[in-house]
Amino acid sequence: MIRSLPSGKTYRYGYITYVSLFYIFLFSPLIVTCILAFNDSIFPGLPWEGFTLDWFFADEEHRTGVFFDDRNLNAIWVSLQTAVSVSLLSLVLGTMAAFLFEQEQFRFKQPLFFLALTPLVIPGVILGISLLLASNSAGLYFEEKLGIDLEILRPSFGLVVLGQMSFISTFVMLVVSARLKKFDTSLEEAALNLGATRPEVIRYITIPYLKPALIGAGSVAFLMSFENFNTTLFLVGSDTTLPISLYLQVRDGSTPLINAISFLLIFTTSILALINLLLSRKKSD
């Protein structure tokens, strides 16, 4: 049953089999994708035609590797810019919201907190279309009444950042709040008692205490933004992000180029996961 309790052989082996099958189910699509990135074939599938790095480094007309494919390189660059902007903005906004709801008292705090949670339970598609509609309405209004044409109100980089920020901030808020809840406020009092001013308390005590949560929330926010599809789909302008660009390519038939990009994504995230694991190991020692 659990570590300390005995259990029958059939049960134990049955359980191990199930868990193994689950992990195979989990990893098979990723592993196959990675392997086929190195297949010397113009089609992402078997049979195996031999090993090649063409899908990374070739620069020919029918075989363009990732590092020479302008369309995908551009999409990666757009996605990186988006993810950096979104994670930084969300980190600031989400942390402010966490402080607001954890440490301040004001009227209508409960309803406002509830409102701040809703972006997590609104399907991303709806966040996307409602922001598209609202920005369009606002754009029309500004153009007709004031005669100003505001770039940010059209599907564009800025709108994508705003749209993603609208729900990623909630996520950051929850992570930071969770850590702030465990914060022993007597640490702040101790610092005040030792002569620190309010800003000094925040700088030397509160922020260092929140650091692990900020790093964690920041990196997840980065990933959430980098991978977002549903909300972005409706807000994106001429500069498409990587998930949108990949979607269009996969839908219209694919080459092992997609596998190569996938390989790079899987490889990078696995490395990050490994670093994360090693860091958390080190902390627990």
Partner: protein, 283 residues
């Protein structure tokens, strides 16, 4: 006073965020869904978008189908991931359980699109499975394993497993082993322990996992579109079609609003049945 000042410094950006990016756009969605072009080509208040939904069978059938399949996906996700979460937290030795947890998370840090693409390579007519089945002589000509409801549900379950397994693991970690030992000592069977001790204890985790999985599945576009193909009939595709293909934003807004009502309603019922509240379920 200094205290008031900090309050306003925190309050102002939060209010801007919530009203400009959440409240206002959804109000706009609501109003636009009640507008349509009349014969003269002018925008007027109208119920025609909602009339279209109820009179066109394809719309409301897709809507119901999406709701049912999203519920089914949520239940399946729980059934599949619960034993895994339990194994990692309660059976595996503490030394390796951290490693297996990270291993569990890795695939989900990779974009959903990459994961779905992997399944497409495996399952399609010219895919890896068919290649091996032919090679082994089990089949004569390739079978199309993609583009049906089963592959679509499988894809949806695969995509959303993380959001179930993480809350399950964290609430199982809070469950003291000695409670299970005590129940065992008092003569309870495995089934009784799971049903009467474990499940009630992790109910908050189950609720929060289910809410997120349900919401993500309901709003998913990629998986039904790529794995369900033309027959997927997923409601988000109707919204997409109205916005991108037909350019009928009013009709799309009505669909979006209906989807929002549906997801809110089912989450509300779920919270009611399990006696949880939203803030507890999400934090």
């Amino acid at each position: 006073m200094a205290g008031r000042l900090t309050l306003y410094i925190f309050l102002a950006p939060v209010l801007l965020w919530l009203f400009l990016l959440i409240v206002l756009p959804h109000l706009d969605l609501f109003f636009i869904s009640f507008q349509a072009e009349n014969d003269m080509g002018d925008m007027v208040w109208s119920l025609s978008n909602y009339q279209a939904f109820f009179t066109e069978k394809i719309y409301w059938l897709t809507f119901l189908r999406t709701a049912m399949y999203a519920i089914l996906t949520t239940i399946l996700t729980f059934i599949i991931t619960f034993p895994i979460a339990f194994y990692i937290t309660k059976v595996l030795s503490l030394k390796v359980s951290g490693f297996f947890t990270i291993l569990l998370l890795v695939p989900f840090w990779v974009s959903e699109l990459v994961r779905i693409y992997g399944w497409m390579i495996l399952l399609r007519e010219s895919g890896v499975f068919n290649h091996y089945l032919m090679e082994l002589g089990l089949i004569d000509k390739p079978i199309e394993m993609l583009y049906n409801d089963i592959s679509m549900i499988m894809g949806l379950v695969y995509t959303s497993m993380l959001f179930m397994v993480v809350p399950l693991i964290s609430s199982l970690e809070g469950l003291d082993d000695s409670l299970i030992e005590a129940a065992y000592d008092l003569g309870a069977s495995k089934l009784v322990i799971i049903r009467d001790i474990v499940i009630p204890y992790i109910m908050p985790g189950i609720t929060s996992g289910s809410i997120v999985v349900f919401m993500l599945t309901l709003g998913n576009y990629l998986t039904p579109n790529l794995m369900g193909g033309k027959n997927s009939l997923w409601f988000t595709e109707q919204i997409y079609n109205q916005f991108i293909a037909s350019f009928n934003w009013n009709q799309g807004a009505a669909f979006g609003f209906l989807l929002l009502v549906l997801s809110t309603l089912i989450i509300w019922i779920g919270l009611r049945v399990t006696r949880q509240n939203l803030s507890r379920a999400l934090s």
